[in-house]
Symmetry: C2
Subunit: 356 residues, 2 copies
Amino acid sequence: MTTLDLTADAVTLTRQLVDLESVSKDEQAIADAVEAALRALPHLTVTRRGHTVVARTDLGRDERVVIAGHLDTVPVNDNLPSRLDEEAGILHGLGTCDMKGGDAVILRLAATVPEPVRDVTFILYEGEEIEAEFNGLRHLAESDPELMAADFAILMEPSNAVVEAGCQGTLRVEVRTTGERAHSARSWRGVNAIHGAAEVLARLNSYEARQPVIDGLEYHEGLNAVFIRGGVAGNVLPDECVVEVNFRFAPDRSEAEAEAFVREFFAGYDVRLTDTAPGALPGLDRPAARAFVEAVGGEVNPKFGWTDVARFTALGIPAVNYGPGDPMFAHKQDEHVPVEHVERCEARLRAWLEGR
Amino acid sequence: MTTLDLTADAVTLTRQLVDLESVSKDEQAIADAVEAALRALPHLTVTRRGHTVVARTDLGRDERVVIAGHLDTVPVNDNLPSRLDEEAGILHGLGTCDMKGGDAVILRLAATVPEPVRDVTFILYEGEEIEAEFNGLRHLAESDPELMAADFAILMEPSNAVVEAGCQGTLRVEVRTTGERAHSARSWRGVNAIHGAAEVLARLNSYEARQPVIDGLEYHEGLNAVFIRGGVAGNVLPDECVVEVNFRFAPDRSEAEAEAFVREFFAGYDVRLTDTAPGALPGLDRPAARAFVEAVGGEVNPKFGWTDVARFTALGIPAVNYGPGDPMFAHKQDEHVPVEHVERCEARLRAWLEGR
């Protein structure tokens, strides 16, 4: 079994984690290494569920915070092992950005801040990069919700080492038009379902995005066709056309409200919900969140993409994204993380946990 | 080798042809049988090209007519051998309608009208049901155009035993919209190509079909999307959407004119021509055609679908479709032909060739 050296600096530890391949559904080795390293720390109580590892301080502080990161990566794309460009200060490799840089910060804090001023629950979990049914954080919320209980949560998803608060929800529907097949040489005998989709697309063009300000952050909704398909044969009028629409909605709407909006928007059409995930309110009105934002420098942006922070929100826990790396490089062949991001995140979080 | 009995009645002969399986690219056996049967007739001069057989009278008549049919069928679909429902007067099986009923009529006429009042060129050809590059009539027009020379041509495609004159042309274009990819959570950074297709579909909805009257026949054009596709991933704004449009045009337009119409119709869009085939003018103003229509009962309809009659038109030869069977059952599992259609076509053509 690989032994992680939690006394090494966070960048060296990031490299150890990156070089321990952990594509989704293959997280046993990394979870074993993480569990062993954390169990060696007497100030933490460790729980393992599947390949998800939870480590908690229990100092009786007034406040408890969760700091969480996922251990899995997307598939290898000729981008392992890690490679450190010392001159540029960039660490390259799969998972450097999404999100083993953040995981390394978590492990460093777990090992080196034995008496934080707020109790901490560290969560390192499996199955984030694939279908939600495999998500370790989701499983934990179902099996052991008490382990996720906290006043505030930080998810170390890449956010350029700046707080990105909340996240927008996402919902997908299929908008379907139907017609009647006919040979295209006698088209007046049929009804063309693709032509019927003109109005669906026209409505999408008329859509005006809502940009609500929540806790001082301006979100930005979006309603977009992401797929369109229709057609039977080159000489047949098609009897079905399907437009797959993705609605990204600000976190002041519930999933039900978002669905109602989309159904109303496409009134008169066959609308089928295929996928939905709630947004997460930034929760910056909560004292714990406000204090954290101040501690890490005050800058805060809205998170447009969906992340697991929404799982905390669903439990009533305000949560933010805060981690090293530019999310634009996540899932890319040239994934990388600036060394400075890793160091800054660790330093800021350390100061906050130590009450400095 | 199967021996065809040209002294049998046309329905029996149709069954012999149907039971001699001849899916496209597998026409050797049927062409061999047809060639042997025709070579046994001393009043005909027979030429073989590939699996296409041509048999001509050469009586020095003032007029020459072509009577043609293809020997191949679409793939077997659990609809062989033939089955005669005597009570209903229906012959069932692959190729009964498209078009071995017509082929049987051709062979019967070839065998039993040794001294027609107009010289006749009988053509039984391969490769009609697949890509045009395999079409035996097309090959013959290239290799031996003199064998196709005539004042008038009859193609025995199923037409309910009623003359269907000319045929409409067909043309396909891809109309393409482009955009810029972006994550759907930050959709304002991209341009959605599917949304851009709204105007393409709106124009199709505004299309008004031309219905020109040519030689007394009302054609009916049609402009239809037959396929639409676009999409990259469920969370990405697509940068391309393609609408495949089929234009069926009346035979008073050339292919070039039809293409110009479509390009003008979609002005402002990227329009790519993918496929085109010319229409065929009915040619009912020609004496040979007029006489034929009168001989077979006077009823004549326009042909909307594309057929090989267009290959004769391209050679300056007026041509009509006239054959047993309802084209709606061509290519269907339950393909069949009414016995009465086969008998009527044979009787009418016989009377016309015998000058009665």
